[in-house]
């Protein structure tokens, strides 16, 4: 039966379900046990499943991912938490060099069912290294899958599917949406993990986004509607792979595309989307694919982050520019 819960709680429920149903599933990371994680996403799990399954690790990200790889080789399915986006880089070597390639190096003889959870993105007034969006750095790496849910229901189901995946999944959690509530139906039948979804239909322009930017895009579409413009929103949900078929169908209907993400625009996922949609739908496009995202500057201090992050007006500006063609 559907229940309304916060996105963070949905992930918690999803982890709980996985721990209950598969004895090989482990949760590990810094402060995930007694504290329940700094965002309380793992709240209560250690109490119910014990210290051997919900593991407080030493404070060493490479160690967390490296030992998770060893546990996966032993047959476990570790779900590891990186406490904040900006803290993942000590583990980047293990993720890129080892985790991503192990299956191929062994010619398919071993599998790496490891989920790396990363709360990401800004908008929470945090100090440095707590607000970044490094998803493109992982999407660039063959062997990894990269996803980001935008609402509670997806958070629940995509976590279930990520844990069941025999490939490593980098699971980006939109931290500023952790407390947003949504309906979660644990008995529903979910769609594929890597399928994009049209979350609002429209005719004049397609907005493509994922994670924290989907909610912003809904607000943009509402504002644009007041001006008589009908925007369609595609929640990509998965950044590797990207469901280009769904996006292409939308773009060929609306003929215009604006991609929105918090990550820097330069070499961001929007760049890849623009290139591929241009290639696929060249004769359908009325305007170049536009992108709204972060600047090519270090993530700014909190008092400036509103200038850096895409907001209603910046996306509407891009919509106007696209429609002006």
């Amino acid at each position: 039966m559907a229940e309304k819960m916060a996105l963070a709680k949905a992930i918690n429920e999803s982890l709980r379900h996985a721990l209950e149903t598969d004895p090989k599933v482990l949760v590990m990371g810094e402060d995930v046990g007694k504290l329940g994680g700094v965002f309380r996403v793992t709240d209560g799990l250690q109490k119910d499943f014990g210290e051997n399954r919900v593991i407080d690790t030493p404070l060493a990200e490479s160690g967390i991912v490296g030992t998770a790889i060893g546990l996966a080789l032993r047959g476990y399915r570790p779900v590891v938490e990186i406490q904040f986006d900006g803290f993942v880089f000590p583990a980047y070597d293990q993720i890129v060099t080892q985790l991503a390639k192990m299956h191929a190096r062994a010619l398919g003889k071993v599998k790496m069912p490891v989920v790396v959870r990363i709360p990401y993105g800004g908008g929470i007034g945090a100090v440095e290294h707590h607000s970044e969006s490094p998803e493109a750095l992982f999407a660039h790496v063959a062997g990894l899958k990269v996803v980001s849910p935008s609402d509670a229901s997806d958070a629940y189901w995509m976590m279930q599917q990520a844990i069941q995946s025999d490939d490593p999944v980098i699971f980006f959690e939109p931290k500023r949406r952790y407390w947003d509530k949504g309906e979660v139906d644990p008995e529903a039948i979910p769609g594929p993990l890597h399928a994009a979804r049209v979350v609002r239909e429209g005719t004049d322009l397609t907005l493509a986004a994922y994670g924290p930017m989907v909610k912003l895009c809904r607000e943009v579409a509402d504002a644009a509607a007041e001006e008589g413009r009908s925007l369609e929103i595609v929640d990509l949900r998965s950044i590797s792979p990207i469901d280009f078929d769904t996006l292409q169908a939308s773009v060929e209907k609306t003929r215009r595309l604006v991609v929105v993400h918090e990550a820097p625009v330069f070499f961001g996922s929007g760049a890849e989307i623009a290139a591929r949609i241009t290639e696929r739908s060249f004769y359908h496009l009325e305007a170049p694919v536009l992108r709204v995202g972060g600047y090519h500057a270090p993530y700014p201090p909190a008092r400036l982050e509103e200038e850096y992050l895409p907001d209603l007006d910046r996306v509407l500006d891009a919509v106007d520019r696209s429609l002006a063609y």
Binding site: G63, Q98, H103, A104, A106, K109, M112
Partner: protein
């Protein structure tokens, strides 16, 4: 600075200064039963040796029990392992020179460390190697020709790690120490009494991953043995560039015992590794073994050691050759006759021939193999790119067919 002087190098700060000189092995949080050992200053590395370079068996009350049951046949077996491993290694070096392999990392000089430790493992134990553990692979029953695929460039690993509980060669230095620790944590969770052994070198001891592995292993009391082959050289950098303390003493700061063993002594390497694996199985946690040895050859076939070390250093180590010393012992004890050595030579040549023929017959992979196994569950982009690649390849066939 010579290797000997490296060994005698006194750290500025003694890691063991506050232990009151309780021994070269830290008792650690898990403790060991052997606290009665004669006091040694931790700055004075104690090398465990059971066979002198002259092949003389020396008593060691602490480690003798671990090789008490060794028969002359076992000794001949260890000798055979080392000779065949060296022969295989030499063949691979030749194959690289002939252009059959792109690269080879020779283990020349490290046979005793690898065969001694490798033969200490049990079938259900798990080994995490670097890229130079050809002798350990031999002990685990991995077909030596399987090791050559990645050096020939036909795959990036290519054997089933679970087939012999011998993980893929790991090139990025030290990464595998964490995998070994995680695997060992899994063994504990499973309630099994297997153990894990992680190989790495003196260079890797500087890596964060190795130190994180030490710490994770200690914190979780994981059944993992860290086997560091200190072959004195990390490509061109000597020990002084890696450490201020003898490497085995690093263990003390992490809370588990460390031992330095003569890595050119196969019997001592076997005994010390058995000791470490046994205590790991008993739930006494990790241990660090520093096998003091020497890389007689270049780092790889691409390296030129004459740029950074004197040949007299290698010559000095040749006097401590691991194979020569066991041969001397076998001969002095009358444990092997000419017939044994003659048959082994023939076996060596046969192995060399088999390896040579197998490598030369190793086909290039199918071009579509580059997409294979990128993912276990598939990936839309890989499918799309494979299809495009196939169409591109087919376009040549069409062009040829149309002519």
């Amino acid at each position: 600075m010579t290797v000997e002087s490296t060994a005698a190098h006194k750290p500025r700060r003694s890691a063991g200064g506050k232990t009151g000189g309780t021994g070269t092995k830290a008792t650690g949080t898990t403790g060991t039963k052997r606290t009665t050992r004669a006091a040694k200053k931790s700055t004075d590395p104690q090398l465990v040796q059971l066979l002198t370079p002259e092949g003389e068996r020396v008593a060691n009350p602490e480690y003798d029990p671990y090789v008490a049951g060794i028969t002359p046949e076992d000794l001949r077996g260890l000798y055979r392992d080392m000779v065949l491993t060296r022969r295989f290694d030499a063949e691979a070096t030749s194959l690289q020179r002939q252009g059959e392999l792109g690269l080879w990392a020779s283990l020349l000089g490290q046979e005793a460390a690898q065969i001694g430790s490798g033969r200490a493992t049990r079938e259900d134990d798990y080994v995490f190697p670097t890229y130079r553990e050809h002798g350990v692979a031999w002990c685990r029953g991995v077909d030596p020709t399987n090791l050559l695929g990645m050096f020939r460039g036909v795959n990036n690993g290519g054997w089933d790690p679970n087939g012999n509980n011998f993980h893929l060669y790991t090139i990025v230095i030290g990464s595998q120490a964490l995998h070994a620790t995680g695997y060992a944590m899994g063994i504990t969770m499973d309630g099994a009494d297997s153990a894990v052994i992680a190989y790495f070198g003196d260079g890797a001891s500087s890596q964060g991953d190795v130190n994180e592995a030490f710490n994770f292993a200690a914190v979780y009391n994981a059944p993992v043995v860290f086997f560091c082959q200190n072959n004195q050289w990390a490509i061109s950098e000597s020990n002084e560039k890696q450490t201020r303390v003898p490497l085995y003493q690093r263990a003390q700061g992490f809370g588990f015992p460390g031992v330095r063993v003569d890595g050119n002594d196969v019997l001592a390497s076997l005994a010390v590794t058995r000791w470490a694996l046994d205590r790991a199985r008993r739930g006494e946690g990790p241990a660090l073994i520093e096998a003091f040895t020497y890389r007689m050859g270049a780092h790889t076939t691409s390296d030129d050691p004459s740029r950074y070390r004197h040949d007299d250093e290698r010559i000095a180590w040749e006097a401590k050759d691991p194979i020569l010393r066991l041969r001397r012992h076998l001969e002095a004890a009358n444990h092997a006759d000419e017939g044994f050595f003659g048959e082994l030579e023939a076996e060596s040549e046969a192995l060399g021939r088999r390896v040579r023929e197998a490598v030369r017959a190793m086909p290039d992979p199918d071009r579509f193999a580059l997409f294979e196994h990128a993912y276990a569950d598939g990936h839309a982009l890989v499918d799309e790119e494979r299809a495009r690649f196939a169409a591109y390849q087919a376009s040549f066939a069409d062009a040829e067919g149309g002519q």
